[in-house]
Symmetry: C2
Subunit: 340 residues, 2 copies
Amino acid sequence: MRIRKTKPVLAAAVSALLVLFGLVFSPVHANQSDPLPSWAEGPTKSAIIQFVQDVTKQGGSDYVRPEERIATFDNDGTLWVEYPMYTQVLFAFDRVKKLAPQHPEWKTKQPFKALLAGDMKTVGASGMKGVTEIIMASHAGMTAAEFEKTVTNWLATHKQPKFKRLYTECIYQPQLELLAYLRANGFKTFIVSGGGIQFMRPMTLKAYGIPRSQVIGSSVVAEFQVKDGKPVLVRMPKIDFINDKAGKPVGIYEHIGVRPILAFGNADADMQMIEYTKAGEGRRLGLFVHHTDAKREYAYDRKSHVGTLNKALDQAAANGWIIVDMKKDWKRIFPFEKEE
Amino acid sequence: MRIRKTKPVLAAAVSALLVLFGLVFSPVHANQSDPLPSWAEGPTKSAIIQFVQDVTKQGGSDYVRPEERIATFDNDGTLWVEYPMYTQVLFAFDRVKKLAPQHPEWKTKQPFKALLAGDMKTVGASGMKGVTEIIMASHAGMTAAEFEKTVTNWLATHKQPKFKRLYTECIYQPQLELLAYLRANGFKTFIVSGGGIQFMRPMTLKAYGIPRSQVIGSSVVAEFQVKDGKPVLVRMPKIDFINDKAGKPVGIYEHIGVRPILAFGNADADMQMIEYTKAGEGRRLGLFVHHTDAKREYAYDRKSHVGTLNKALDQAAANGWIIVDMKKDWKRIFPFEKEE
């Protein structure tokens, strides 16, 4: 309103300058006219762009207010590589090996004995109970600050076996573009993962531009204690919440309190999140990454030991879920690949 | 970088225009030079402004990166009126009365019998067990959407007894200014309340400018179910988390994952949150509202049945906590009051 007080000569100067800026910056703008350059042209990319245009069009029938523009992304296999094994499981195994000298009892106690001997078959056979014991041994019994430091150091020093890069570098370029595109259109982007909430948080801002408070995951019980006169949070050896499968919509309800309008996963464990998302009123988008590129990444789905994608493949068409074919839909997979 | 390509004449035009804009907009700037007009001049206001200036000064010794600029506020008695009774408790009592015809067993079952007879002494004597039963009866056993609708309708139709205004209007003007001032300086503002997370969320964006995902509170267990082929979240009659006292730092850890640099409460139940905040490195600010204004609001502290402020008053000076004296420090209390 105040600009009305501006003298006509100033208004003219503003207009002229806007034009000049337009000219100066137009080459940049032209380069950026494709918000998803690593996505191949085709129905998947078109559906995403159409969706974003529709829900952000003021006065349009599909318009969604900014506070409702919530997009949720699974992490393992959706934003970063999960094959041949979830990064956090490798972290847990490494921690057990590192902590073994302080736990002589592990020499005879399963599943630790098997893990230390490299007998993964026995570790696997120990089931949920065994895995939980390994997670508790590696993720609990320390302060929040100590765990943060351990995770940060581990991620800074361990590399993905196939790509010989840090795990935090093995993230999907097309998804980075999609996250940025959504945010540029007023979306708030969240991670909703079965992985540990505090395991992910040290890396999400730098890797994905997602702040810690927008990361939702599984957790152990934390307890407020005063140690040597200093208040600390201690991670207790007790599962607090499993943010997987039917836990994902619950995690969304607790942490966000708004039903997403876009959800992106890659496994059957993401089905409930996507069902919940799609069941809301108005326009909704549900997507799954299908790992189809054995050469550039990995190819796995129905019978995989990680990121099993089976039922979702069968039910996708009937439910209007989009299956993103990594090999066909992604021109470039990793930031470290050369641009074409 | 690209601006280097700009011709000198354009650069000159830009500079000239910036100066012109400065002139055009300077009256606005002058009006807005006090970011906290409802706060009385004095050490409290000065301490807040100095803190914000220090932590946002690039290159300064107290500089805090934007992603670490987290401010947490209690709700009851800190952002809105909690006297003579917490709004949510009144909601729970009303719900029980409304639901009574569907629960003939309540006629003989405590604490419901006492509540329906208006015998608050017996309700109070039923203790934590009784109160929990009332909360479960009023807050669980429905879908998330049904609960949301009930809360929204209740808040739209019930008024605070002293001010004859909706509860959502009985919010503190100085705090609205502080929240806006913090956000304008790159802070992310959160509510960290003992109140129900889903009870607060319907009102926080409109009342305080705080989105749902930045609201942390107590919760009941939610369960993902498919009802009539439609995925829904059902609120179960089981406490999930009590976000009060030592629960507040835990809630902060789970939901934000970053230790706040500023925390604001009004009761002993906020001490742990403020201790946790102040125990971090670098500059930190911890504040309590002290309700000292019987005329314009209420006066209560050490022996109050709501918002008890006793230990914190004793320990404030030694811990460097700021006690905000409502009567002296707040020139205006509510948005609905006329501006002076």
